[in-house]
Amino acid sequence: MSTTILAVILLSSVGLIAGIAIFVANRILPKEDASLQKANEIKERLPGADCGACGKPGCFAYAQAVAKDVEILDDSPCRILASDEDATQALGEYLGIDLSNAGPGSKAVVHCTGDSPRIGSYSGVQSCAAAVQVGAGEKECPYACVGYGDCATVCPVNAISIDGEKNIAVVDWETCIGCGMCVAACPRGLIELIPVETPQYLGCNYQAAKDIAGRKKCSVGCIHCRICVRSSENGEVEWDDKKDLPQFSETLATNAIEKCPRKIIIKTSAHPSDNDPENPPKD
């Protein structure tokens, strides 16, 4: 027989044997573990951001934990899931439990509205964590956002952008899923997770107790005048003596927002009707 034909036979038979081997392996090997299959199905109903805010290394690990014990949904809730009602309901239906009282989610806010004058030029490693270690950044205010976007880098949904003009981080309220990755990333601790129903927050973190010099550091810094406390008749705003910054309750402090000389009490977008002149609030 010629070599060509033998070569063809050899190749086909090796291919056939390999095929049979795969077939046999498929039959012999145990089927996929049932709990793993369940974990896989739960994972499909999770946000899949692998943010780690729940304390588990990624969504699959969380799904495995949920597959083992449903209680974990209460003990260490998935914050992203909580902000998405449809997804919560879908997971609840799959698991056969009621998750509707899991509570609303959170959103991240940046306690800085920028505008602190630059007093230096930094050209080192382009990260906030590195920049604050070298001469505390470029800006005069030691509480200001450094603006190299460490928070934007870790954000799994790209909700954070850097305002190029003021060089500060801006969180998009709608896109934010409240995972809290940015809170850990900010070396200045300027980012905070607040419940979605919070009506307002302060766009400044200048705490130097009773230091009116805040006025000089930045045109939108809190000057600790306490007009917000005085103008809130029903005690919506209280003064936090420790931080020397106002503290808001869960009701909208309309007067305080208007009276603030620096206009840094910022309404969250959770109350769109208040911002919309065509749909004034009912009460």
Partner: protein, 192 residues
């Protein structure tokens, strides 16, 4: 034994797959952006190299050589390695989900990677025995993982550095690869 150790180090450093033999360059650039994925890739390549060497050596010496079919080694090896990796992937998926998640997409990706095919040919061209082939495959896998880890570590730091715009991304990676290759040339002549 000392010969096996010499072969191991020769394949890992002196004749490094990526930087000296220029094999497996696609994963070297494609999967070296993050250290974690570079490590998974390295482990997957090492595993497949070991299995491929262990299977192709007897196949070549017991089947192809006696019947004079040495010229068919390329196509036969590709076929055998590809189906083997299929079976390995299947068994890992069914038995150890954690390992499967760690190796992820990389296992099927490298079924017939040139570095994997390369090590089986080197084993035959160098007339290595079975044990020597395994040592060579292990060395090549370790060398590959080492280079991938070095490269990913450098690239992770480069991402933060203020690189000139024209060099950002791939160009600086190629430059780094060249410098790494120069560094590895220094191993030349160390082991037989």
């Amino acid at each position: 034994m000392s010969e096996l150790i010499a072969i191991f180090f020769s394949m890992a450093l002196v004749n490094n797959m990526v930087l000296v033999k220029f094999l497996g360059l696609c994963p070297f650039f494609g999967v070296s952006k993050k250290t974690s994925s570079a490590f998974s890739m390295g482990i997957a390549v090492m595993l497949v190299m070991l299995v491929a060497s262990a299977v192709t050596w007897p196949l070549f010496h017991l089947l192809l050589v006696p019947y004079g079919f040495e010229f068919m080694r390329t196509v036969i090896f590709i076929l055998v390695i590809a189906s083997l990796v299929q079976i390995i992937e299947m068994s890992i998926k069914r038995t150890n989900m954690t390992l499967y998640n760690a190796l992820g997409i990389y296992l099927p990706l490298i079924t017939t990677n040139c570095a994997v095919l390369g090590i089986t040919f080197i084993n035959i061209d160098q007339n290595y025995g079975f044990a020597a082939s395994i040592a060579a495959a292990l060395g090549a896998g370790v060398g590959f993982t080492l280079v991938l880890l070095i490269m990913s570590g450098i690239r992770e730091r480069l991402d933060l550095a203020d690189t000139p715009k024209v060099f950002k991304g791939a160009p600086i990676a190629f430059l780094i690869a060249g410098l790494l290759g120069l560094a590895f040339l220094a191993f030349g002549g160390m082991v037989g």
